[in-house]
């Protein structure tokens, strides 16, 4: 029998996660189909560039979180990180198409896919962590912090929550693997492609 807590977990976390992953897959297939159907395959060839730039741009969140940069609302940067990586991944997936040619770009694509799924798991864990640290909200309010300051404090509590720390230990190596493989693909393209 499903308990209210299980139903809530399914509705609030697992369902959105599943939907986002499925949507990415469906959007990729539709994008690839349309480009072939409309005889616009060449667009797919160059879609890797804006996709990669979006993913690189979304890494600003990581810099903000590590306080390498200090400007901007960290929650906004996180939202941009989530949207940028999802959209960038979609572009890269359409770019890769379903054409098995070389191993290296495919390893990069697979690493990116794992990275995206890992990121979505992180998003889910972060939401769970937020729920866990909600109790802290009252504590901060009692200390007389403003509403905005309370939000920021709760956010930092949730991203440093134990589960998130553990998740990061998996997410970062996956990202590094993806980054190096993608870099290898990009270097090989620059080396051999005729940019005419």
């Amino acid at each position: 029998m499903t308990t209210p807590a299980t139903a809530s977990l399914w509705r609030s976390h697992i369902l959105p996660f599943t939907l986002l992953v499925t949507l990415l897959g469906v959007a990729t297939v539709i994008g690839d189909y349309l480009l072939h159907r409309l005889d616009l395959v060449w667009i797919g060839r160059y879609l890797g560039i804006p996709g990669t730039l979006l993913i690189i741009g979304s890494l600003i969140y990581s810099l903000r979180k590590r306080k390498v940069i200090t400007s901007g609302n960290v929650k906004t940067w996180l939202s941009l990180h989530e949207i940028g990586t999802w959209l960038g991944s979609l572009m890269v997936l359409v770019h890769s198409g379903i054409h098995f040619n070389a191993i290296l770009p495919w390893l990069a694509t697979i690493a990116m896919g794992i990275n995206v799924i890992s990121g979505m798991v992180g998003k889910m864990l972060l939401a769970r962590s937020r729920e866990h640290v909600q109790g802290q909200r009252e504590h901060y309010q009692l200390r007389g912090l403003s509403k905005n300051e309370v939000e920021q404090a709760v956010f930092w509590e949730s991203v440093t929550f134990d589960a998130m720390t553990k998740w990061r230990k998996v997410h970062i190596p996956i990202f590094i693997a993806f980054a190096v493989l993608a870099l290898g693909h990009i270097v090989s393209i620059f080396l051999f492609w005729g940019w005419q």
Binding site: R45, H99, N101, L107, P173, I176, F190, L191, F192
Partner: protein, 249 residues
């Protein structure tokens, strides 16, 4: 990130980097090369210049333009050439990549860069039959040259020529092209190629109607229907006395 993970990650990536150098055709090559270039599979820089891709200069190192279609890169005569006539010698400029793509993955989805007649020198563009065989149907077997009167150099079909616009080939006029277009010259025609239309007979009939200029028959007659006569500037007339530049009684 723990030290062990860092080491495992680094070792894996180094192995992949080594594999990319040892087996570049599998790791980074966009599909198989054409069979003739199979031996170059692991030698990317035989065709690719660093940072600028495959270049014509590298192609012509092995493939001399004057020999293409005639001799192999080893100087032997090609026994079964792909085209009946070598044409690479008649190209406007040397740009191998405008048509050729060696990797299967690139070739499959290449929309541009296929052969284009515009790349041929003007004289070569007129010599269709040096490369193309004429179709074996009865119409085309009667025709030599002048393909571009009906066909474009982009597509064989649709053929744009509609003979009915000039003259309807109905009833007694469904004859061989050369009956009217002597020596298959489709820039000219004659209506005096059969017994029915002799110059003397036609002249007499037109003079009787007061028509003195009757050199260009199809200017007024667009079919065998003697009542379907179209006079320039006067539209269509049905029967009766009519004709261009005729004498008034």
């Amino acid at each position: 990130m723990s030290k062990i993970i860092k080491i495992v990650l680094a070792v894996n990536l180094i192995v992949l980097a080594i594999l990319a150098f040892v087996y570049p055709h599998l790791m980074v090559g966009p599909g198989k090369l054409i069979p003739g270039h199979g031996k170059l599979e692991t030698d990317c820089f035989a065709c690719h210049a660093p940072l600028s891709g495959a270049t014509t200069e590298r192609c012509t190192t092995c493939h001399k333009q004057e020999d293409i279609g005639k001799l192999t890169t080893l100087g032997q005569t090609i026994q079964k050439p792909l085209t009946s006539t070598p044409f690479h010698q008649k190209l406007l400029k040397q740009d191998c990549l405008a048509c050729h793509s060696d990797h299967a993955g690139v070739k499959r989805f290449r929309t541009e860069g296929r052969f284009n007649h515009a790349l041929l020198q003007a004289d070569a563009r007129k010599e269709c039959q040096s490369c193309h065989k004429s179709p074996t149907d009865s119409l085309h077997q009667q025709i030599t040259g002048n393909c571009n009167q009906c066909h474009t150099q982009q597509k064989w079909v649709p053929a744009t020529f509609d003979h009915d616009k000039y003259f309807a080939l109905d009833r007694d006029h469904n004859v061989k092209c050369a009956t009217c277009h002597v020596r298959n010259d489709y820039n000219r025609y004659t209506c005096y190629g059969c017994h029915e239309h002799s110059l003397e007979k036609i002249r007499r009939e037109h003079i009787e109607e007061g028509i003195r200029d009757f050199k260009n028959c199809v200017e007024c007659h667009r079919s065998a229907d003697e009542h379907d006569i179209r006079m320039p500037g006067r539209g269509q007339e049905q029967g009766g006395r009519n004709g261009r530049e005729r004498d008034d009684d």
